[in-house]
């Protein structure tokens, strides 16, 4: 960085132009500070990435012996000490899909209402406040609500449906918040231009707002897939069980009111509740769970990059 070597006290003194940019003691110090700062930031970034890389590599190495197609398509066997992860894998897929089928439409439509239709009032302010706060409620609290509301009150029992709805309640506020953010990113001028031509609010939303915010909306929803897949607390009270054998290879093996196994729960059981489980089984389960989450997140990133590349203003 160039400093200002012109002494302000003697404005008449003329300094050769090339002198102004030569290094002084002071500027050298500043350059050093700059380098140190850069190095610190770089090291911190490395420290952030390092654990992730280590975890992935460690898990993969430990899990290598069991990772094979059969691992995915066989039920756990011999009191969890052998076999694969078919039942928990399918259970996780079930609850993620069902919960998002419930929370995504409700969340997106609610966000559209809040952002595009609702006028600022004490009522909408309370709703917005509730959304923000609900998004921060610990998942165990959602679990307790699910037990009370779905398992007992709605008499669903501990089941796929009760667990999915509990997860839906958990993901709903985050989907509303992320959708609102995406809608907000569409400039107001576009809406006004449409209104001025006599377009209704819905025509404006359909023609301009949604097509230009869909990338953000989808990214927000996809990120909730990984959250729903990874949570243990909300499902362990509402339907996930220690063991349930289902027919291998049948994707419709679970009924809506059946109890089910789930990957996150399964991993917890393997590593804490059952003695003598081969290490590779535990790590294999973890790799699948982590891999699924990373894949879904990667999908979100790809989608965002793709849609941003064709951003239209």
């Amino acid at each position: 960085m160039a400093t200002d070597p012109i002494p302000s006290s003697s404005p008449t003194e003329i300094i050769e132009p090339q002198l102004m940019f030569t290094a002084t003691e002071q500027s050298r110090k500043k350059q050093m500070a700059e380098n140190v700062a850069r190095a610190i930031f770089f090291v911190m970034t490395l420290l952030m990435i390092l654990p992730l890389v280590l975890i992935v590599v460690y898990l993969c190495v430990k899990a290598a012996p069991v990772l094979s197609p059969e691992f995915f398509f066989t039920n756990p066997a011999k009191g969890m000490r052998a076999g694969g992860i078919w039942a928990p894998l399918l259970g996780t897929i079930y609850i993620v899909i069902i919960s998002l089928l419930v929370s995504a439409p409700i969340g997106v439509l609610a966000a559209v209402y809040l952002n595009e239709y609702a006028r600022e009032s004490w009522f909408t302010r309370i709703i917005n406040l509730a959304v923000v706060n609900l998004a921060g409620v610990p998942s165990i609290v959602h679990a307790l609500f699910g037990v009370g509301a779905f398992v007992y009150f709605a008499k669903m029992g501990r089941s796929v449906l009760a667990a999915s709805l509990t997860l839906a309640i958990m993901t709903l506020p985050v989907i509303i918040a992320s959708t609102k953010e995406a809608l907000n990113a569409v400039p107001m001028a576009f809406r006004e231009a449409c209104w001025n031509t006599g377009a209704t609010r819905w025509q404006t939303i359909r023609g301009i707002v949604l097509p230009n915010s869909i990338s953000g909306i989808l990214t927000g929803i996809i990120l909730q897939v990984s959250r729903a897949a990874g949570e243990t607390a909300p499902i362990m009270f509402t339907g996930a069980v220690f063991f349930k054998a289902i027919s291998e290879g049948d994707v419709f093996a679970y009924g809506l009111l059946d109890r089910f196994m789930a990957l996150s729960m399964h991993l917890y059981q393997l590593s804490t509740q059952v003695p003598g489980v081969p290490e590779a089984l535990e790590y294999g389960t973890a790799v699948v769970l982590l891999g699924a989450v990373l894949m879904v997140n990667a999908l979100a990133i790809v989608l965002r990059v793709y849609l941003r590349s064709r951003k239209r203003w």
């Binding site: 600022e120 006004e192 231009a193 449409c194 001025n196 209704t200 230009n212 203003w313």
Partner: protein, 257 residues
Amino acid sequence: MAQLSKSTKKIEIADLTVRYDGLEALKGISLDIYENEILGIIGPAQSGKTTLLKTINRTIEFEPSAEVSGSVSIDGTDIQSIRNVNQLRRRIGMVFPLPVGLPMSIYDNVAFAPRTAGIRKRSELDELVERCLKQSALWDEVKDRLDSLGTKLSGGQQQRLTIARALSHQPEILCLDEFSIAVDPVTTMRIEDILKELRSQITIILVTNLVQQARRLADRTAFIFESKLIEIDENDVIFSDSPAHKLTYDYVHGNFG
């Protein structure tokens, strides 16, 4: 269409007052706008010109804090009594200072409003798009790339696209709010020529910061100052050496303040 008798009133504004959070943006404005005239509206910034336009097509209703009293009638009908507000807005074309190309193709930009009004036939839309783009003097520049994005046009082209869009719903009234702010002088002159041609078909309200623009284009000019209508008269009078108010004279001749 030949010029109708100059006395046909298109818009009648009576004692119009608009407040934002209690602050008056317009104070008791009363004026009539005749069919097929260009009415210039001049006045310094913050004097309520834009608010006046927004009141006419009722987009003022999107401002939660705005409060309107008095009446605006179009063809003798009070606009507050029109139940389908979108129908009203279709009768009025609006062009605002900053050009807004919608993030869709040039064709869709112009076809958007007709589509929302229910026109679906491709041939009808094609014809309409071509006519509007020709009217706004943009056709020759974009006819070979109607599928490219409206937002990627230059500022001046986008403003003409905005005018094409404002014409696309076949309005009876065209309001322009300082359209030349973001546009180069050459484009400004082209748009001014367009307006002169359009005058025979529709009523034009031209809000402008440029006194000379009102002088060149308008039949009559209104001078609004500090939220009040100071004077409205034929251009011959407003820009003469003896308008009714000294304030008008000072503003028009640039010896203000």
